[in-house]
Structure formats: structure tokens, C-alpha cells
Amino acid sequence: MGIRVNPDIYSLVLSGLQTNSQQENQALQQVSTGQKLNSISDDPAAAASIVTLRMESSSDTQYLQNITTLTGSLQTAGSALSSVVEALTSAQTLGVEGATATTNTENRQALAQEVQGLQQQILGLANATYNGQYLFSGTATTTQPYVADASAASGVTYNGNENTNSVEISDGQAMPTSLPGSQLFSNSTTNVFQSLQDLYTALTNNGDVASATTEVQNALNYVSTQQTFYGNSVDRLNNAQTFLTQEQTQLTQTESSALDVDMAKAITDLSQGVTTQQALLAAGAKISQLNLFSYLPSS
């Protein structure tokens, strides 16, 4: 006699069916959710990396939102500054006209009125806002930066500060949101408001209009150079936006490869499971019909 074998073949078929149906269930879950990871224990390292990837991706979404807000504010500031440059150009033209010998006193008075109008316009532009926040008052965005002040030599008082806010536009890359008016409209040698005030005074009093015009010219040149900050900033924002969008695509792809199922493989697994199940059932049905009693005479 050889070794006695397990006569309970049902139990073998049953455990085979159970193992198989576990695999089938897993494949079915993968197909129905489209994910190969359905709980963190399916692949703990991948699940942990998904957390990191999603945090990065979420930060990128926030940076992109920061960029959108910042672009709006920088463009508003930039166009305000362009208008200042235009107004200064007009003032300079008026000064040149006022400096010529043919212009009489009456005409100079008229030109002075026009210069005063431009002064008002530039004051308005220097107090420009975005979302209710003053753009040119440094970090004191709730304080109106320039107030008309007859007692001041330049005709205005600056109430802002010298500081700038910065906003992050990608990991570790911060960008100033604006420049303070004290830096944009004046430096140690030139001052927009002073030059306009001087031109107005010269025209009104028949004074040295030519040198006042030169002063305006200098102010114009200075503001024009400051303008480049806004142009450059918008360029940097566009670059950062492109970079972030690419990085997000990359992160999404990485996440997808960690999380999403290879559909072809999952479906193959599923149909293999079904085939195995059918084979096991067929085998079980065949085996169970056979035993010696079947062959004994019934009478």
C-alpha cells in the first residue's frame, strides 16, 4: 500500500476556488475603480509617495493662483506707470513750448494750468489701487500713498513706506508684488512731483522754464527705467506659470503611474480568474462523481 491520500477532494477544490475568487475580486476591484491601489496596504511606499506628490501638486495649484492674482496687480501697476510716463511726456512738451521766446506770459499762464491738470492726473495714478489695495504705498497697502499738500515743496506728501511685499510663485522663488512710490517716483537727484511743481511755478512766475523742463525730462527718464520692473515681472510670472504647468503634468503622470491600473493586465487577470474557476468547478464536478459504490451492483 502506498501513502494514504486525502480522500476529501472537495476541500482541495474549495480552497482552490477560494484562492481564485480572492484574486478575481482584486482584479474586479481594480477594473471597477480604475486603480491598482485601493488601500494603502496594497503598496505602502506608493501610497506614501502619493501623499507627497499631491502636496506638491496642491502647492503648485496655489502658486498658479498666486501668479494669476499677481499678474493682475502687476499689469494694473504697469499700466498706471505707463500713463504717468505719458503725462510726463505731455508736461515736458508743455515745458518746451513755454521755454520758447515767442510764448508770452498769458500763454505761459495757460500752459501752467495744463501742467496743473497733469499734476492732478499723476497724483491720481500714483494712488492707483488693485482689489482696493494701494499699489504704490510700499507694504502699507491700506494707506493712500500721496496726498496733495500745499505746504510741501513738491505739493504732495508721501504717506507710504519703503518696504515691499513678496509672494512665492514657486518653491523658494519669491517675487516683489510692487515697488513703493517713494522709489518709483523719486530718488536722490530727481522727483516727479517736485519737477512738475517747479515747472508750474516757473510758468506761472515767468521763471526759468528751460531748467524746470530739464528737470521734468530727468523725471521722465527715471520713471521710464522703473517701468521695466513691471515688464520683467510679468515675463517672470509667465515663465513660472509655464514651469508650474509642466511640473503639474509631470506630477499627475507620476501619481497616475503609482495609482492607476494597467487596464489590459487587470482584465487579463480577471478573465484568467474566470477560466481557472471554470476549470476548478469542472474538475470538482467530475471527481466527485467517482467512487467505488457507483460500480457495485445495486441488487
Binding site: 501513502i3 494514504r4 491520500v5 486525502n6 480522500p7 476529501d8 476541500s11 482541495l12 480552497s15 486603480q35 491601489l37 485601493n38 488601500s39 494603502i40 496596504s41 496594497d42 503598496d43 505602502p44 511606499a45 501610497a47 506614501a48 509617495s49 502619493i50 501623499v51 507627497t52 499631491r54 502636496m55 496642491s58 502647492s59 495649484t61 496655489q62 502658486y63 493662483q65 498666486n66 492674482t69 499677481l70 496687480s73 482689489n131 489695495q133 504705498s137 510700499g138 507694504t139 502699507a140 497697502t141 491700506t142 494707506t143 513706506n161 518696504n163 511685499n165 513678496s166 509672494v167 512665492e168 518653491d171 519669491a174 508684488t177 495609482l259 467512487n291 467505488l292 459504490f293 457495485l296
Partner: protein, 468 residues
């Protein structure tokens, strides 16, 4: 020389023996599908011969006894593996509930709330005086605190449930050890009467198997047929007709039940069965996740508060030093963060109280930038909040996946052992059919012997009938 009547009695013994054996076969066939049934064999023996003159003459056959075919060593190994498998099974059931709380693959967990919280500060840097952005920051903080607190409470609820399971399992263990003691006594009685206690032993095997699913067991069989059951670490559970009940007692320090044997705490010595699984999940798996969660919460609370205190809010005309953003966590035990996650809450209610400014200027965003920057700072155990949390995910996931692999491996071993056990003790219908034919033929032959002897006797009697 044997007599005719002697021959007849030999044949009669054979009839009885074959009948008895057929009874055993019938019982085997009837129990072919009974779980835990060990097949029985009829042990036939030659009857003691008698001396007739100078010759020893056989007196036929007797069915000496009925024996159950079982391998106690195999049964013990099956019980041990069952014990390990049940332990892992109950541990996994519990830890699966835990990992569902952190199932980031399905969007559950803290990552979204963590990101939203830091992003709300990032957003605030673009417009630090905006009351809607400030309100959004408070809301994000409340969501984050709520998520921490809810997760922590859910862990505690699972832990409480496990504690109840420990108490219930101990009660089940006691019922089973009482049954073992009861069966021990019956087996001893039957054995003493010289009968086969096979079906009682089958019952006891089943009880021991169920018991090993609840707690780790070691069984020693005595010559009188009784089984002595201890845990693998030697705590006596049942011996002879006595069982030693385990008890449970609430430990006021942990709020959890200890398992006691004769007044001694044996909680940590339990080495198998679902009782061990429940205890492991209750005392190790869940506390480990809870501790990480508390550490993360405590670090976030203190880092955010510290940065908030360094800046200026928007209250009053000049702004004031920032007040605590989260309710500060006060440890109940020095150096422990236990309870930090459960108690996490936002302390400020006025959006103006967020300290976005670093110098008091309304509109300055320096401190908001620093608050947002906490996302990339190593604020907890030398790691950022994000990587600490991702390690927590890895840790919880690994606990479950390692136990799952281990359980699968033990499942294979157990299947192999059960297969072996079935090969030894299982009923084979082919074998029973063969035996049945053998016994039937032997019965027919013995009956033929009787009728032949009958004919001979009648021939002999007819010798004395006067002829007509």
C-alpha cells in the same frame, strides 16, 4: 479434532465480527462529511485457540475493539498554526479599520486638509488685508483641526471596540476550557469502562481547535486519556476535570482591560489566537498610529502659534502681536503629546487676528509668508509635516501588508497540514466500499459454513431415523 457444534460457533463468531465491522464501516460512511470526524477501524483478532487432545484448534475471530485513526502531533501543529492565523486575522480586521481612516488612495486622510491649510496662508500673502482670505484661513485651520480630532477619536473608538472584544474573547476561552474539562472527565469514564472514547475525543479535538483560534494553546495528553491545556507560556487553562477561568480587569492607567490568570496579569504573554490579535491592535497598532498623529498635531499647533506670535494682526489702529492660532496643547504627562490631535481646535475667531504682518503695517505680508513657509520647514521630528504624515501612511500600510503576507503564508501551511490530517483521519468512500465487500463476503461465507454444518448435523440425525 473439532466438533460440528464447535465449527458452528466459530462461524457464528465470524458472523458477529463481520456484522460489527460492517457497523463500523456504516458509521464511517455516515460521517464521511462530518467536520472533525476521525475514521474508525474495527480491530479483528483471532479468538484464543483451545486445546483439543494434543492439537491447538482455532476458535475463530472476535472484533477486539474499535479504534479512531488520529495523529495527535499533527493535530497539535494544526492548532498552533490556527492560533497564529487567528491572531493575524483579528489583528488585520482591526488594522484594516485603522488604515481606512488614512486611505489616501481613495481621498480619505489628512493630506487635503494639510495642503489647504498651508495654501490658505500662501493665498493670504497675495492680499494680506482681505477679510475673505483671512476668513478662508480660519476655515482651513478649523477643517484641519477637525480632521485631526475626528481621526483621533475614530482611532479611540476602534480601540474601545477592541477592548470589548478582548473581554468577550476571554469569556469564550473560559466556556471552551470548561468544555475541555467536562469532556476530559467523560473520556476518562468511558476509557475506564474499556470502551472507545473516539467520538468524545473527536469532540474534544474540535473544542481544542476552536480554543486555539482564540488563544495560544499547548496540549499534553495523559495515559488516562485526559488532556492538559496551557498557554504556550505555561498558564494553566484546563487539567483533568478542572478548568481555570481567566478574568479581565480594567487598568485605570490605560483605560483598557488586562487579562488575568489567578490574579496575575498575563496580557503581554498571550502569544496567539484572536485574543492576541485584538491585544496587539489595541496596545500596539492603534497606539502607534495615534502617537504619530498626536506628534504631528502638537508640532503643527506649536509651530503655527509660535509664528503667529511673531507677527502682528490687523486689530485696532496699529495692529497687535499675534495671538495663538490654535488652542495651545498642554500635555497631561510631561513630554507626551497624547491627546494633542483629539483636542486640536482653532483659538481665534476674528479674521483680523491673523498675524499676516511682520512689522505691524497693515498690508505687510511678511508673517503670512512665514506661516505658509512652515509647510517646507522641519517642524516635527526633523521632518516637514507632509513627509512625517507620508511616513505615517507608509507605517500603517506596511503593518497591514506585512500581516497579510504572513497570514497568507500561514494559510498555505495550514492547508498543507489539514490535507495531511485528512489523509490520516478522513473517510475514504472507496476504502469503505472495499471493506464493506470484504465483510459482506466473509459474512456470506460464514453463513454458508453454518448451513453446511446444519446439513451435516441433519445428515447425522437422519442416520437414526428408522427407514419407512
Amino acid at each position: 479434532m473439532s466438533s460440528l457444534f464447535g465449527t458452528m460457533s466459530v462461524a457464528l463468531r465470524s458472523l458477529l465480527a463481520q456484522q460489527g465491522a460492517m457497523g463500523v464501516t456504516a458509521n464511517n460512511i455516515a460521517n464521511a462529511n462530518t467536520p472533525g470526524y476521525s475514521r474508525e477501524v474495527a480491530i479483528m483478532e483471532e479468538s484464543p485457540p483451545t486445546l483439543m487432545g494434543n492439537t491447538m484448534v482455532g476458535t475463530g475471530v472476535t472484533m477486539e475493539k474499535v479504534e479512531s485513526v488520529r495523529d495527535n502531533i499533527l493535530n497539535l501543529r494544526i492548532d498552533q498554526e490556527t492560533s497564529q492565523q487567528s491572531s493575524l486575522g483579528s489583528y488585520l480586521t482591526s488594522m484594516n479599520q485603522v488604515q481606512a481612516l488614512f486611505n489616501e488612495t481613495q481621498g480619505a486622510g489628512l493630506q487635503t486638509d494639510l495642503s489647504n491649510f498651508f495654501n490658505s496662508f500662501q493665498s493670504l500673502t497675495t492680499d494680506p488685508t482681505s477679510s475673505s482670505l483671512r476668513q478662508a484661513t480660519i476655515t482651513a485651520g478649523q477643517d484641519l483641526a477637525g480632521a485631526f480630532s475626528q481621526t483621533s477619536q475614530n482611532l479611540a473608538t476602534i480601540q474601545q471596540g477592541l477592548d470589548q472584544s478582548v473581554v468577550q474573547t476571554v469569556q469564550q476561552v473560559n466556556q471552551l476550557t470548561a468544555q475541555v474539562a467536562d469532556l476530559n472527565q467523560q473520556i476518562q469514564t468511558v476509557s475506564n469502562a474499556g470502551q472507545n472514547p473516539g467520538s468524545l475525543e473527536d469532540q474534544r479535538d474540535q473544542v481544542l481547535k476552536t480554543l486555539s483560534g482564540l488563544i495560544d494553546t499547548a496540549v499534553v495528553y495523559s495515559d488516562d486519556g485526559t488532556a492538559t491545556v496551557t498557554t504556550t507560556n505555561g498558564t494553566l487553562l484546563a487539567s483533568g476535570n478542572q478548568s481555570d477561568a481567566l478574568t479581565t480587569q480594567l487598568d485605570s492607567a490605560t483605560g483598557m482591560n488586562q487579562v488575568l490568570a489567578q490574579g496575575t496579569d498575563i496580557t503581554s504573554t498571550i502569544a496567539g489566537g484572536q485574543l492576541q490579535g485584538f491585544i496587539n491592535a489595541r496596545d500596539e497598532g492603534i497606539p502607534s498610529a495615534q502617537t504619530s498623529l498626536d506628534n504631528l498635531a502638537a508640532s503643527l499647533i506649536s509651530a503655527v502659534n509660535q509664528q503667529q506670535n511673531a507677527g502682528y494682526d490687523m486689530t485696532g489702529t496699529t495692529g497687535a502681536k499675534g495671538a495663538d492660532f490654535f488652542t495651545p496643547f498642554t500635555p497631561s504627562v510631561a513630554g507626551s503629546n497624547a491627546g494633542a490631535a483629539a483636542a486640536m481646535a482653532v483659538a481665534i475667531t476674528d479674521p483680523d487676528q491673523i498675524a499676516a504682518s511682520s512689522d505691524g503695517t497693515k498690508g505687510d505680508n511678511g508673517n503670512a509668508t512665514a506661516l505658509a513657509g512652515l509647510q517646507d520647514k522641519a517642524i516635527v521630528s526633523g521632518q516637514t509635516a507632509g513627509s512625517y504624515y507620508s511616513n505615517l501612511i507608509d507605517q500603517v500600510g506596511n503593518t497591514v501588508s506585512n500581516s497579510t503576507s504572513e497570514q497568507e503564508a500561514i494559510g498555505l501551511v495550514l492547508q498543507q497540514l489539514t490535507n495531511q490530517q485528512s489523509a490520516v483521519s478522513g473517510v475514504s468512500l472507496d476504502e469503505e466500499a472495499t471493506n464493506l465487500i470484504g465483510y459482506q463476503r466473509a459474512y456470506e461465507a460464514a453463513a454458508r459454513v453454518i448451513s453446511t454444518v446444519d446439513e451435516l448435523v441433519s445428515t447425522t440425525i437422519n442416520m437414526f431415523t428408522p427407514s419407512s
